[in-house]
Amino acid sequence: MKAMILVAAIAAAPMARATDISPETIQQGQALYATNCATCHGASLQGQPDWKRRLANGRMPAPPHDVTGHTWHHSDRDLFNLTKLGVAAVVGDGYESDMPGFGGKLSDEEIRAVLDYIKSTWPARTQEAQAKITAADKAAQP
């Protein structure tokens, strides 16, 4: 079982690259991730320690971007907005969050590249699940 998952994970990376995302984009995204996201979300996307528990200030720590987190539960549109605008702006209603918006720092292209890099690290099964969520979200848009 473990071996199978491992095989799937290894197979996933070239698959993601083979589809619509170029290796250059993923490389660019990886570099942008290292400079802009890794401090909080972890160099290997592992998130902050004990990330399911609130910090003393009531805010949530940075979750992992690997499969153990919930990043893959969001559609492309949500992930883009969360990264560009920050979590507080997307959730609204006075929600407080330590996740900054990167709209002033990264171009839309760069934000997409970071997210493409994050997605490229997921096993195929997770990529497919997230693609379905994106498709459902697209279908629900007016």
Partner: protein, 319 residues
Amino acid sequence: MTFIRFSALSRRRLIGGLGAAVLGAAAPPGALPAFAGTSRRPSGRVTALAFDQGALVLAAAGIWTSPDGGANLLPRSQGPGAPVAALAAHPDRPGMLLAATASVGLMRSEDGGSSWHPAAPGLPAAPLDAVAIATHDPLTLYVAVRGDGLWQSNDGGKSWDFAMDRPLVDKVEVDVQALASVGSLSGMGGYWVYAGTAKGASRVPDCFCRWQTLESADAMTTGTAKPAPVDPAPRLPHLSVTSLTLAPSVPEVLFAGLPSGVWRTRDSGSTWKIVNGALTSPLLAVDPLDPNHVVAADAGGTILSSRDGGATWAAPSAA
């Protein structure tokens, strides 16, 4: 709280841990009523209510069941050995019940409440306030641990993981006192978990990304149609929600028990209306076999039921 008079017993059980074999048998003799004959009113405060298929199950001093929606209550057993904060019934296996207890953890019955066994050895030894079985997968269980948060099992209770901190309401973490798995799509590849707290209700997608209060705009609720704005919107009051329930087949209709009575939403929680003000902080159960059949019971054991989805209420009568 309502459990104060049990506290000495509770603490002893807590120290004894969850490993004790037959907890029911350890109950002090004479502390609970004799379980024979019929009675219309349960003894002790009523603390939990559920529908086990068509059979109503009620926790007070002991477990009581009713074949006729509360018209006749029959004492069933002394219960799991501690006050029951919440009951959940398996959707497909009649007689399979889970009880969240104040001091002996999560308990399971396979026989409609007659006998009880520890169901979740891996949970923290703290009072449990609520339990829900996921509507899409009965092996997925959610439990609210007081002072801690939500725990989840994906294997029917064998192993548990911390899933989510408690909701933050007015900048303070509040305990979850009622839990419901709601089978409408969250837009995040799963379904919803609704929670009643001392300050209204909150919900979280089952990815446990973020709590949102039911009053809030559904900023993150992608993939589901947003209800038309109502002005002024009849919201759920910011008060203690001690019961939250629904029929799995009609996930957008939920009932909530508040100090003012029974509240109902028909749009997954955006707008609410009080449908019965006769009972204070009622416990609620909806018959999964008949979503129009709703039963409400207060702590004193007064039972009212509705056969029309909450529009009209009366004392239950044997059909």
